[in-house]
């Protein structure tokens, strides 16, 4: 049995089913509200949900016996900006630690399982912030990547503010952007003034110094914990896209879902294909068996691609803004329609249940 939490423009949907078969909707919460992200914390059994009410602002809710609103997700009252959205929730390596990333490019940390949060001041007050710039989705901190077993090491990614690394639990931050070539700015722009539009960031858990990145025009790999990056986009039909997924069992693996271009954010050539590498990005293999193969122009957003399990039993799931949800129970070799006719899908997380 696998459980999916699907954040949509019109609420949270919980689905459950056997891998390889259509899933049933088992629950719906926050009807009508944009649910940015939802995550199950196996340590506390809490469900953590980010909701952006267009009227009442962004909130993070956690469910135990009932829904409770998390506290502390706010920017300094004397500042120029208010918190606009909470894009992502991530579980920390230390007991009870939960992170939340939001717009404008801010990171929050909870040490009590998501009930109360504090703003990370080191990142919020970083001098480079003046050069960060919002993309179409705002100035979003969308990726929070922990280092297995080391709670002091963390990587985050901001669109458009680049990759930021800490080795001291978030007290100080340094950029990890060497080797990234943005096409949307003049080539002679000073490097410290470039707002780098990272779309997604993931770490190979069994080789944690290796990370993969989907960029705004580019796919990259780092083998030095994010200090520098090498292009691995050769062989893809397009280097534009949003989400990224990895097989935890294989540090050479990555999956991307290319979209045509930044000016045409749909699946290329009217067909839906996930691209897989098993050699660290040296080559890519299209994986489209079972996915719409013609007249299909889907948009898959950055949080809408999830993996659970590993190896041959790796399960992959992604949702489209057109409301379709697709899955693979065999590491991408074959695909099927998990659910249809959902509202526009903003995010997917997956948990394999015993």
């Amino acid at each position: 049995m696998t459980e999916l939490l699907v954040g949509t423009k019109k609420g949270l949907f919980a689905l459950a089913g056997e891998p390889g078969e259509p899933f049933e909707i088992t629950d719906r919460a926050f009807p009508g509200e944009p649910v940015e992200y939802a995550l199950h914390d196996p340590r506390t059994q809490r469900l953590l949900v980010s909701v952006t009410s267009p009227f009442y602002g962004p909130k993070l809710w956690y469910a135990g016996d009932g829904w409770e609103q998390a506290e502390g997700l706010e920017l300094p009252a004397a500042g120029e900006a208010a918190l606009e959205r909470i894009w992502v929730i991530a579980l920390g390596e230390a007991e009870g630690v939960v992170y939340a990333g939001g717009d404008p490019g801010c990171l929050f940390e909870s040490r009590d399982g998501g009930a109360t949060f504090k703003l990370n001041r080191g990142l919020h007050e970083h001098p480079s912030r003046a050069h960060w710039a919002p993309g179409a989705g705002g100035l979003c901190l969308h990726s929070i990547v922990t280092w297995p077993g080391d709670p002091d090491r963390l990587a985050v990614a901001v669109s458009a503010g680049g990759i930021w690394l800490t080795d001291d639990g978030g007290a100080s931050w340094h950029a990890g952007n060497e080797g990234i070539t943005p096409r949307y700015i003049p080539e002679d722009m000073p490097p410290d003034q470039i707002a780098l539009c990272v779309h997604s960031l993931e770490r190979a858990s069994r080789r944690p110094e290796r990370m993969f990145m989907q960029f705004h025009g580019g796919v990259y790999r780092s083998d030095d914990a994010g200090a520098s990056w090498t292009s691995i986009a050769g062989g893809l039909p397009s280097d534009f896209g949003f989400p990224l997924a990895l097989d935890p069992a294989d540090p050479d693996s990555a999956y991307v879902i290319p979209l045509s271009a930044d000016v045409d954010r749909v699946t290329p050539e009217g067909r839906v294909r996930v691209f897989e590498t098993r050699d660290g990005g040296a080559s890519w293999t299209p994986r489209g068996d079972g996915l719409p193969a013609e007249q299909a122009y889907l948009t898959i957003l950055r949080q809408a691609f999830a993996a659970t399990g590993e190896g041959d039993a790796l399960e992959l799931y992604f949702g489209a803004t057109s409301g379709g949800l697709y899955g693979s129970a065999d590491a991408g070799a074959t695909w099927y329609e998990v659910a249809t006719n959902l509202p526009p899908v903003l995010s997917v997380t997956a948990v394999s249940a015993p």
Binding site: P54, K59, L75, A77, A82
Partner: protein, 86 residues
């Protein structure tokens, strides 16, 4: 005192639809409402104290702003704006 009227989740958070509050401006009574009902913090005013973009306030049926002056017995309606629907 002005009377602030709430609907929907705001009514639930504040434990009632009508609240008599002291203040000489709309901002005064919204801040007083938040102080009296901490669960409302961040719902009508953001963390800077700015009225949220898609919340409308009316005083005696007329569109109002945060700095709109109030007199005793004025009625303040706090409503989700049409512009927030999507």
């Amino acid at each position: 005192m002005a009377v602030v009227r709430l609907r929907g989740p705001l009514k639930q958070l504040a434990g009632g639809a009508e609240h008599a509050l002291e203040g000489t401006t709309v901002n005064d009574v919204l801040a007083a409402l938040e102080t009296a009902n901490p669960a409302m913090k961040g719902w009508v005013l953001d963390e800077r104290g700015v009225l949220r973009r898609h919340i409308n306030v009316f005083v005696n049926g007329e569109p109002a702003a945060q700095d709109t002056a109030l007199e005793a017995d004025d009625r303040v309606d706090v409503l989700p704006a049409l512009s927030g629907g999507r």
